[in-house]
């Protein structure tokens, strides 16, 4: 039996005005892209709080994509420039935490660019699949049995601190 391939879970925040429509277009044009992506529609890529990305990564996502209108074409004038700066700062921070750059991606895709978005999704899925699972909560686990270590203290106190009458 062939070894089972790791299928990454990727959360994508798509802006309502460009990228979500690009995804729609990809759908109506019957373009195929890998089904590893979970899309969440937001009104603007500028709505994506870095906390959303951190939450997704720490709760089990293997990668996060933020997609929005091309710079200069934002429905809300210049919010996607804020996205660009936020994303740069977020990735700078995640890099310091040891999260690989490929796990977070900022993708510009206009409403006409279904092919661009589909290609970006495929590329990101392949990159994250090659990196392997993130499993961030595993980082919080200790390498020894915490319960045992804590209970040992209770026994020890009972033994050591009782003065025989």
């Amino acid at each position: 039996m062939p070894e089972e391939q790791f299928e990454p879970k990727i959360i994508a925040f798509l802006c309502n005005w460009c990228s979500y429509r690009a995804a729609d277009l990809a759908g109506t044009a019957r373009m195929k892209y890998q089904p590893n992506i979970r899309m969440i529609r937001v009104m603007c890529s500028g709505r994506v709080d870095p906390a959303f990305v951190l939450k997704a990564l720490s709760f089990g996502a293997d990668g996060v994509m933020i997609a929005g209108c091309h710079p200069g074409e934002c429905h809300y004038i210049d919010q996607n420039y804020k996205t660009m700066r936020r994303f740069t700062m977020l990735r700078h921070t995640l890099r310091a935490m040891g999260v690989e750059d490929e796990r977070v991606r900022l993708q510009w895709a206009s409403a006409a660019e279904g092919t661009v978005l589909a290609a970006a999704i495929n590329e990101m899925v392949n990159q994250v699949r090659a990196l392997g699972p993130l499993n961030w909560t595993d980082q919080w686990k200790e390498s020894f049995n915490v319960e045992e270590a804590v209970l040992a203290l209770e026994h020890e106190h009972a033994e050591a601190m009782e003065v025989p009458v």
Binding site: P50, K55, S58, G98, V146, V150
Partner: protein
């Protein structure tokens, strides 16, 4: 006054500053002693863990627990005091959000031991001795607590009733909290006892719309005494930090470093700082933005999570032993 309540104060992974802060309420400490019997306070009175162990559950009325949890002994004490206390307060930044001890979460136990017991210039350890959890001596086996890879907050360890933020909490806020507890005028359990605004609201400096071409380090400029420090390019964390200190640092020209923790509604301190700082960078060119950020914020964890790494969404940096992450962690140091 009815029967006196019982008070316990304990420290785990902390610096001792919170204990001093309790004494910062000055002569009011006598009122505290008037209202409570202090049953346990290792820094001030001689009481034994064993006597706490023998108390009935919930027989301590109030426990102020300061310090983060980074060893099995601290976890044991957190559980013990949780069981014995009616009201458990995470007192100060370490218990609340990990604080400076929580910054150790940027490293692993192995890296910390390597530095502390081998690499520091002041270490003289020719035999490479390291603390062992069990050691055989003629009298029998003796134990040391286990040192965790990841520092935890008190709330990540046991249920916490209230949080008193600050590194350390300001004496006035401590007194307010003690009065609220004594008069039974406490907010709903799980609340942070404190203000619900930011340090900016207490800061006397003049704010205008911010546009920053570069971030400056504190030693690079002598800040103007009137203008908002962030306007002047200093990374001031007042925008994300809970009020309560009276904006002590920015008032004297030193940027807020976030010791009072995240304001209400801020889920991840660093994420809020990233959101706010990214908005004020005055550039639309990706390469320039990259340069402003990488040069201006060389240590993003220390800048954005100085007090809250253990309580952040990610809680820690990737452990170097964890396969996929090992390579990058080594590269970025």
């Amino acid at each position: 006054m009815s029967k006196k309540g019982k008070l316990a104060i304990y420290w785990a992974a902390s610096c001792g500053g919170c204990e001093i802060a309790v004494l910062g309420i000055d002569e009011k400490i006598l009122d505290v002693a008037g209202a409570f019997d202090i049953v346990f306070w290792p820094v001030a009175i001689d009481a034994k863990v064993r006597s706490i162990e023998k108390m009935a559950d919930k027989s301590i009325d109030l426990c102020l627990f300061n310090g983060a949890v980074r060893t099995s002994e601290q976890e044991y004490m957190a559980r013990l005091l949780r069981n014995k206390s009616k009201v458990l307060v995470a007192f100060g930044s370490c218990a609340h959000e990990g604080c400076i001890p929580g910054l150790a979460n940027a490293y692993s136990r192995e890296q910390i031991f390597q530095t502390a017991y081998h690499d520091t210039p002041s270490t003289d350890n020719p035999d490479g001795v390291r603390p062992q959890t069990t050691t055989e001596v003629p009298e029998g086996t003796i134990h040391l607590p286990v040192f965790y890879d990841t520092v935890k907050t008190l709330a990540q360890t046991v249920d916490v009733d209230y949080y008193l933020p600050g590194c350390p909490p300001e004496p006035e806020r401590i007194w307010d909290a003690l009065v609220a507890i004594l008069e039974n005028k406490l907010p709903p359990p799980g609340s942070v006892i404190g203000a619900e605004t930011t340090v900016c609201d207490e800061c006397p400096r003049t704010r205008s719309e911010k546009k920053i071409k570069e971030f400056k380090r504190t030693w690079e400029i002598i800040p103007d005494p009137e203008i908002c420090l962030l306007d002047q390019g200093l990374v001031c964390c007042g925008i994300a930090t809970r009020a309560g200190c009276g904006a002590l640092c920015p008032t004297v020209g030193s940027p807020c470093i976030g010791c009072y923790g995240p304001n209400t509604g801020v889920e991840d301190f660093g994420a809020r700082m990233i959101t706010a700082l990214a908005s004020v960078i005055d550039s639309e060119d990706p390469d320039e933005i990259d340069r402003i950020i990488s040069e201006g914020i060389p240590d993003p964890i220390g800048t954005f999570y100085r007090f809250s790494l253990a309580n952040s969404q990610m809680r820690r940096s990737a452990l170097p032993s964890n396969g996929a992450h090992a390579k990058q962690a080594v590269e970025t140091g």
